[in-house]
Symmetry: C2
Amino acid sequence: MTDDRRAAGAPTLEDVARAAGVSRATVSRVINGVRNVDPVIQEAVRQAVSVTGYTPNRAARSLVTRRADAVALVVSGAGVEPEATREAPDGGAAGASGAKEAGTSGDGDGSSFTAQVFADPFFGRVVTGVVNYLRPRGMHPVLMFAESSRAREEVVAYLRQGSADGALVVSTHAEDPLPALIAEAGLAAVLFARPARPVPVSYVDLAHQDGARLAAEHLLGRGCRRIATISGPLDVPAGQARLTGFRDTMARHGNPYIPIVEGQFTQESGEAAMERLLAEHPDLDGVFAANDLMALGACHVLREHGRSVPGDVAVVGFDDSSAALACRPPLTTVRQPVEGMAAEMTRLLLDRLARPDGPVTSVIFEPELVVRGSA
Amino acid sequence: MTDDRRAAGAPTLEDVARAAGVSRATVSRVINGVRNVDPVIQEAVRQAVSVTGYTPNRAARSLVTRRADAVALVVSGAGVEPEATREAPDGGAAGASGAKEAGTSGDGDGSSFTAQVFADPFFGRVVTGVVNYLRPRGMHPVLMFAESSRAREEVVAYLRQGSADGALVVSTHAEDPLPALIAEAGLAAVLFARPARPVPVSYVDLAHQDGARLAAEHLLGRGCRRIATISGPLDVPAGQARLTGFRDTMARHGNPYIPIVEGQFTQESGEAAMERLLAEHPDLDGVFAANDLMALGACHVLREHGRSVPGDVAVVGFDDSSAALACRPPLTTVRQPVEGMAAEMTRLLLDRLARPDGPVTSVIFEPELVVRGSA
DNA sequence: TTGAAAGCGCTAACAT
DNA sequence: ATGTTAGCGCTTTCAA
């Protein structure tokens, strides 16, 4: 069979039609499950298909249907140019031997961005949610990164040339120009997280403020009196919202001023932030970190300083990512149902493709407190 | 412009040709950079392209070139059916509220596999390497998972219908039937890691045994006398090879018997293994873990038991993943240049696509000891 | 150096 | 219910 295909090219509809003694159109109907086909003929066609080893040619089909039956999953970065890595990259991969890495892989550029992206369990969860929704529908995501303006152009071009029918966009920073670019080009997309400036594109998001409120109330409820927070980057909407929600709740409970150190959602930045917090407020007894990675870093530092968690200091994280269970003790955290959100984002996109004139909608998920050992 | 495109459909070669006052063929030549085109006309065509906002239609092009200009990046799983998750999934995501997750995402199946895959920093690094090589060439990977026989069939079908020109296959377990399936179908692929049973397909791999030797020699060199190892899963070739390399070296240095506990390459399994090791050999002073995640887990447990690292027990990991730097103290580890290996794997595949009759080759990378704080 | 014309494999009217 | 036919947008001989 293999040899047949190689020698004569893959079998086409024509071949199947001939083998089954019917027309191409009929074969096409059977293959695409269009009704109005005599069951007997259907069977004959199926036989012919398996005899010939026929597989539909995607390009030919796409050319006429004008559908690629593919979607892009794009991780979008900051609004500016190929920025140099801010501080220490994030952890191992790029850190220890960055120079060698660039040399080995043959393409130094952009390396730090993709490495950074996958260092956070968050993206793996997004992929999981997207794939879970797509797979049963016979689709698979094309992975793209859009951290520079050049890369963003490429994403737009990719969609424009019909390589994918639409894009699932996950932005790592606010002010990301990609959503607007896509919208202007009249292309289909759905975002993970509300865009900083309004864009006529659907999105899914989490009620971050509510989540932070849950964290604050939990800390308060267990009797913490001197509470501090390690916020996310303040130029990221989610970072802002979590801080605002936390602060507001604390204020409402009579704590208008709380120590804040800004982190970058990385374990390292969490460690640095905790060091500072501890130096400036040695008496604190509760910490809310805006994500689990930073909470994990904070726990490490607390232990190094001989503070027990949650005995001396209670720690609450955010996300309920794999880092929460990896931590000792396991983190009490605010659960963000990333997989479900990603699946919903995918559903919204496919909906949109099916009905291009459907409404632009947004779905906001509710967070949930998960109590474990750390607070 | 947007409106034009919507109203009249995307501009085609024909439109550009008309605008430039030349034939479709000429426009095609200019766009594809074929020589023998009058510079003046070239310029005119370029003008027309930008005026019309033309973008080549990928399906049409693929139909005639018989190239998709796309490759699949497939993460392939065990040889058996949709196996139930072995033990605790891997960490947070699926753990805390797995039931709810399945409900939310609408598709319970397969979820654990993808989640598990991205829990290890390894895959993020593979993606980084692949993307770094592909991007400058205008290509992007289609992400696929092949953990069940059904999923494997889908991968083969995907390639057969020309959705991708070839596959980059990363197997998580030995005895993976996918490479053979692909080879039998006469499709192009390159593997990350040598297949368990020989298959006529190119691959990249690491000299695992040499890496383990480096670890053993380092431990021995710093004076450790009672050394144990936490191996990887023994049904994974890399796990086997690292154990063999370690054992052989130890034996050559007069230590024929060393305590071994098998892990699963997860942090949790590393913790469990370390607990056991400590219970059975309370006097050990050195540990080689077959990957960083397990080494990280081991370090946690050691600290919990009041053993200092590396003071009381020296720990060496493997991979030099982000986990190595996340660890306290940072891990001394054997570096596997995953990004470079993934880039090379990609290069091999594109080579193969360019010259289908080129030789099947394998490229073996040499590991390197990275000395940090843990040993 | 350029143009004309023939398909690539498929779907979707339209006819029957 | 089935067949006929006309393209989808592009590349690529083959002529000029």
